[in-house]
Symmetry: C2
Subunit: 340 residues, 2 copies
């Protein structure tokens, strides 16, 4: 990439061939790994390409070659810490594999349904090799239509398996057992569960697991559910849970973001000290969880493992039937009392 030549239109392979005095095919071969070209023609082609500032048009190549087709990432609220982290890891992994990645943000659409519908249509239109749904819950019939149209689909953290689709999920049952036993050891008797009303299957399932474990352990449990998966929702939850008598002594939030809201409201609006007056546990281990202001005890979402798994599946021709379960890992920090 050198050159000062100004061009209105980018150079095509035909022009390169002409300048190098070789055939159109020779130019193609020069830029295909392992194709048979003599060292000499190759050199001449490369020189001509350099002179004309030529780059293979991957858009055109993608028509016939599978592997220069894009991977499509669909998600919303891309600036939420969890999504941002997933996106960062995924784009990095795909970049390493020299994949083009196209991102579709379904957040700005008129209705939630409209967004996903448009997004999937978009993915189909650009003949993505695979479509990864990072968040949200695409209706089952839409997903089925995509599969029918020959689209390879990978869904993240969706609870109920759909036929013909790759599922990658976090295995949170064991983590929920850990969460409950941490609370027990902290001397918690009355606890609460905070979750959003977003209806994401993964969160619903996580909540169900926690609930089951808490009940099995004989904890008294209040379930608070409402709003989007956001900081402000956590604040609201804390305001309602901590207002009355019989305050919970421990709160599990299905997401770090909710936990931050809970902690801040507890501290600044109720003058509580954490973990002395209240133990809090989150989930995801987003960057802020390790910040001094929170120092949140949580479970690390296996971001990198998920990214690797996706990379693996994109290349392979057939997708596994059973959901792929990846374990989160406990991050012990300072928001749960160490011992009774």
């Amino acid at each position: 990439m050198s050159g000062t030549r100004l061009q209105s239109h980018p150079a095509s392979a035909a022009e390169v061939a002409r300048l190098a005095g070789v055939s159109r095919s020779a130019v193609s071969r020069t830029f295909i790994e392992g194709a048979s070209v003599s060292a000499e023609t190759r050199a001449r082609v490369l020189a001509a390409a350099e002179a004309l500032n030529y780059h293979v048009n991957h858009l055109a190549r993608g028509i016939s070659k599978q592997d220069s087709r894009p991977v499509c990432l669909i998600g919303a609220t891309l600036d939420a810490p969890f999504h941002a982290r997933m996106l960062d890891r995924l784009t990095q992994a795909l970049q390493r594999a020299r994949r083009m990645v196209m991102v579709i943000n379904t957040g700005g659409a008129d209705g939630p349904g409209a967004g996903v519908h448009q997004a999937l249509e978009h993915a189909l239109s650009y003949r993505a090799v695979a479509t990864v749904v990072l968040s949200g819950t695409p209706p089952a019939d839409l997903v089925a239509a995509c599969v029918a149209a020959g689209q390879r689909m990978i869904l993240l953290n969706r609870a109920d398996p759909l036929p013909g689709i790759c599922h990658i999920r976090v295995d949170d049952a064991p983590a929920m057992r850990d969460a409950v036993s941490m609370l027990l050891r902290a001397g918690v008797r009355r606890c609460a569960l905070v979750t959003s009303a977003s209806g994401t299957p993964a969160l619903a399932q996580r909540a169900a697991h926690f609930r089951r474990e808490a009940e099995a352990a004989g904890l008294s449990l209040r379930v608070w559910q409402g709003g989007p998966t956001a900081y402000a929702t956590g604040q609201r939850a804390a305001r309602e849970l901590l207002a009355g008598a019989d305050r919970p002594e421990g709160i599990f939030c299905v997401t770090d973001l909710l936990a931050f809201g809970v902690i801040d409201a507890a501290r600044h609006e109720f003058r509580m000290e954490i973990p002395r007056d209240l133990s809090v546990i989150g989930f995801d281990d987003v960057a802020q969880a390790s910040w001094g202001a929170y120092d949140l005890t949580t479970f690390a979402h296996p971001f990198d493992a998920i990214a690797e798994e996706i990379l693996l599946r994109i290349g392979s021709t057939e997708l596994p039937e059973a959901p792929i379960l990846l374990p989160p890992t406990l991050c012990w920090r300072g928001t749960v009392r160490p011992e009774g």
Copy 2:
């Protein structure tokens, strides 16, 4: 998008034409806005398309039509709150304009130089209509090479204008005047400036503006610079600035992320109260700035205005010569003492 038909290969327009009993061109016309097709053929084509689960192949269309070519977004550390926010707003805006957006994460590359180089080559290869560089500082000669290859480029927050390129920048000179006068009113005499060593031109310029204003106002100023633009860097800065005698009474951080680190270290490691013992000002107004734990006084980066501006420039044939300056707006919150 209905259908249960399983296909190995997605349907092509030729197949649709055959099924509908019309010419190949008729199918194309049906899917092009404003092309002339009779209502009847149109209906037949649509029916056939539905039956075969056909979607126009935008990859192929992009070869000849400008407007189905992608917009390329280049950035690193996409999970940093500032980048995540910009990415969210930008993808949303581009989505609304029905643009395909490809994202290139230069973070994972071997060397910092290697990443940007690869990214730009990638953008060229996919014949992006425009390439937006969100962060980082691509070497001037690389950028020149892209322009030479016919690539339209938009750079964000880069200080020195390069020829033939669209620059969008935040106009932080007035904001820095505001920052200094806020500190003065808070009774601050000894102040500090915290910035990273990342060498981003925008940050360097912002720091220079603050410095000039602070000196003009007769404030005593210590400049701390080091590390990446990250939370931990802010912590380090606070540790060094607050350790000795003659502690600063006010700190301006060129970025919210740095400010969070400063605040947490000041509170939890030095037992200081904010704003009583220390006034802190940030820049960007990232989501966390309004969280209860920080309640940070800062300047809102004009994310939406930038996104709109970019959208505008992508469509237009010629880019403006002069940099586009967008003003940040003050967010008065709780980390600066109200009055002397």
